[in-house]
């Protein structure tokens, strides 16, 4: 990877990052294909579409069409929009079944209101959070994106956006703009205790409030981001984003070093499969000062 050790968004705009070389990886690299397909599958699962019929979906940041392939496999019709010509050329070469548009999601989506039964996005929305031109204001672009997304969705349908937020402030910025645009919903975190498998899905609903799905093997976090704090992600060897879980995790109402905190930490380590002493009446008891 060209920019090992830092996030790709810091290196420039997506249309330059996703050049021919990068597009080739998204076509040939079987591990990349596998990861994208799995995320597309999970996103589709979280969309809770009606089971009996093919739907008309929007794929934001469709790239070379890997997620779109999965949508076609499930029998849906889809339209993809992406900002990188190289990635879309790769998609055309692969003869995908969806329709493609070259455009900037931050400038709004060029569709009639109520066009789509649902929307997914895989690893794309975090690119809106970095300003690449002096005229860009991330909050404004995010709001433009979310308000146009709200408009083009059929009322009562969902959008599931898988993304890699850099930190909790970024996640909060994104969720604030989504809420301003009229969406309800929450962030679903899959495998929150695993550095490699942890994935964030922003599940948005364009209708009256409904349930937020449960994350796999972990907790559902609500819209008030700021529950977990993140360090900046680092790209690992194969381009897979790795996270360092910070030592201090601020949880709602749990004071650090209290008995509750100790019990929670032990529970978490048990879930990770580590060896933990059993909980007794002495667990987390107050020790003498010189201890």
């Amino acid at each position: 990877m060209a920019c090992r050790g830092r996030r790709p968004e810091h290196g420039g705009p997506p249309e330059l990052f996703y050049d021919k070389n990068e597009a080739r990886k998204y076509v040939r690299n079987s591990r990349m294909i596998d990861v994208q397909t799995k995320m597309a599958r999970r996103a589709l699962e979280l969309l809770y579409l009606p089971e009996d019929r093919p739907c008309y979906l929007l794929d934001i940041g469709c790239g070379s069409g890997l997620s779109g392939d999965y949508l076609s496999y499930e029998g849906h019709y889809w339209v993809g929009i992406d900002i990188s010509p190289a990635m879309l050329d790769a998609a055309l070469d692969r003869e995908i079944e969806g329709d493609l548009l070259l455009g900037d999601m931050g400038q709004g989506l060029p569709f009639k209101p109520g066009s789509f039964d649902g929307c997914i996005s895989i690893s794309a929305v975090q690119w809106l959070c970095n300003a690449n031109k002096t005229s860009d204001i991330p909050a404004k672009r995010l709001y433009c994106f979310f308000s146009s997304l709200y408009s083009v969705l059929v009322r009562g349908s969902r959008a599931v956006l898988q993304l890699y937020p850099e930190n909790s402030e970024q996640l909060e910025l994104i969720t604030t703009q989504a809420t301003r645009a009229g969406f309800t919903g929450g962030v679903v975190v899959d495998y929150p205790n695993s550095t490699k498998a942890k994935k964030f899905y922003l599940c948005l609903f364009s209708g009256p409030s409904t349930f937020v799905p449960k994350g796999l093997n972990g907790n559902v976090e609500e819209e008030e981001a700021g529950e977990s704090r993140f360090t900046s992600g680092r790209r690992g060897v194969r381009g897979h984003l790795t996270w360092r879980i910070p030592y201090r995790i601020a949880r709602r109402g749990v004071v650090r070093k209290s008995r509750e905190w100790v019990l929670e930490k032990k529970e978490r380590r048990r879930r990770q499969g580590k060896e933990v002493r059993p909980d007794t009446q002495y667990t987390g008891r107050k020790r003498k000062p010189r201890f």
Binding site: C55, Y56, V79, L92, L100, L102, D104, P110, D117
Partner: protein, 121 residues
């Protein structure tokens, strides 16, 4: 691009009163046979922009279609089958138009170029 997707395209910069319809003169079209699912087609019908749709089908001399959605269309199988061409027709080449301005239609549509082609300034 499928006929249905073209029908849903809308520009934010003033084209028609709401940014659509964009009149398409299709020169090259391909019909892909697809499985017919009446539910799916029934859900697409309320979204269709009829004027633009009829224009395109008339220029292409595809099958004859009624002037608007029929009341109770969910149950009318013949009508649904006709509308199924929405999903089957793939417009490969053409010209997207408004008076005095046009934009060439190809397999990959650039939204930015569309805006440039149709902006009034």
């Amino acid at each position: 691009m499928k006929l249905f997707t073209y029908n849903l395209l809308s520009l934010r910069v003033g084209v028609g009163p709401h940014g659509f319809p964009l009149h398409l003169q299709a020169t090259k079209v391909h019909i892909n046979p697809e499985d017919f699912n009446p539910d799916s087609v029934a859900h697409m019908i309320p979204k269709v922009e009829w004027v633009a749709f009829l224009e395109v089908t008339n220029t292409l001399h595809l099958i004859k279609l009624p002037k608007g959605p029929i009341h109770g269309h969910e149950r009318d199988e013949k009508f649904l089958r006709k509308m199924h061409i929405l999903q089957e027709t793939d417009v490969l080449e053409g010209i997207l138009q408004r008076p005095r301005l046009s934009f060439n239609w190809s397999k990959l549509i650039s939204v930015i170029q569309m805006h440039c082609a149709f902006s009034t300034s």
